[in-house]
Symmetry: C2
Subunit: 203 residues, 2 copies
DNA sequence: GTCTATAGTGGGATAGAC
DNA sequence: GTCTATCCCACTATAGAC
């Protein structure tokens, strides 16, 4: 986790502070002064830890994606039942996303602000994750557990829409726990919203 | 449509040009000079048509929401069957969204950049639309067509996630037509991804 | 590792001629 | 309705002391 860069106290808090501001105000509208204020230092001091503001956005994006990829892979490792793999994936995605809500939101919405070279790196990581999701679904489809009349590509994009964009309204302090939301999502995604699906795959 | 403000040639193209740039680069990173360049004028000339850059973002958001509200209401008016109303809503939403892709994307992602007073106005319009969706779903649920084991609030948020965030990867020139995507979405949302749903509500 | 001070740039918006 | 010229401001990043 900490390999490759020194993480002092200020350095460690830097990413979280930046993610919070980038998410609340947007990357371009957040000033280095505001980030420094949260950390209790002057803005010039930031440049001892980073080379540029864009570094922060890049590291936030990488960190968010590596976490979600790692935790999702871990959750489905060793699980054989095709539909159970889907359930595990949904739960891991929701949990990881909510544990890292600011970073994840920023990664999803601020890709445009990165330089082309770094944007490519993030897109590659995203593709890697989308491939993981698609392969879980494709496995379930090949096992006869998922419908075959809609291309896996769109089954996959739909699940990602449901998963990713929950983050914009999900409130940790609300009445809904991450696990319960993951249950709703799984049941709805697999069983549908129709009456006949009532109780489907809800545990 | 044109009531309340004069829409000269430059004025009319202004919103579209701004929406395109705001979507490609983000609101904060788009300069008035770039907008002017597209229109073939100097940036000072923009201020004959608008009072501020923020005006553009506000008008884009209002225009996008009024369109989607209007077209969705029109699509379900006079339709009685509860599930058919859901289908109509999905088709109208997808069509309207894609016809106005830049504006709609900007409305969804740049809310933060508006001043509090104007943000409130946009949030009110969004709430109005979400109420419309929730009421269609609630009608179907009360008619016994939708499951009752998941609160309508979450049935509604899930459908909005599926609908709204398609816009970020949907390509009009791709192999998928808006109507076909709406069919997939309807079938998936109502019937689910499981094998047993195969062919569900697909026309 | 943090500070003060400032360089250097580019932004939104305005003045006033045409 | 568009232009040139410019104001004023805030930003990122750097220099160099401590």
């Amino acid at each position: 986790m900490e390999t490759g860069s020194v993480r002092t106290s200020t350095g460690g808090r830097l990413l979280d502070a930046a993610a919070k501001l980038f998410w609340n105000k947007g990357y371009a509208s957040t000033t280095t002064r505001e980030i420094a204020e949260i950390l209790g230092v002057r803005k010039a001091s930031l440049y001892h830890h980073i080379a540029s503001k864009e570094d922060l956005l890049f590291e936030i994006s990488v960190s968010s994606l590596e976490r979600i990829i790692g935790e999702t892979q871990a959750a489905i490792a060793g699980v054989d039942d095709p539909l159970e793999r889907v359930r595990m994936l949904v739960h891991a995605h929701v949990a990881s996303m909510i544990a890292d809500q600011n970073k994840h939101s920023v990664m999803l919405t601020e890709l445009r602000a990165l330089s082309p070279a770094r944007r490519t790196q993030i897109v590659t990581l995203r593709d890697e994750y989308e491939q993981l999701v698609a392969s879980v679904l494709d496995g379930a489809r090949k096992a006869g557990a998922l419908r075959a009349d809609i291309p896996v590509k769109y089954l996959s994009l739909s699940l990602l829409n449901l998963l990713n964009w929950s983050i914009f309204w999900f409130q940790l302090d609300g009445e809904l726990s991450p696990d319960r939301w993951a249950d709703y999502l799984t049941s709805l995604y697999l069983g549908g919203a129709q009456k006949s699906a009532e109780g489907a795959v809800l545990r």
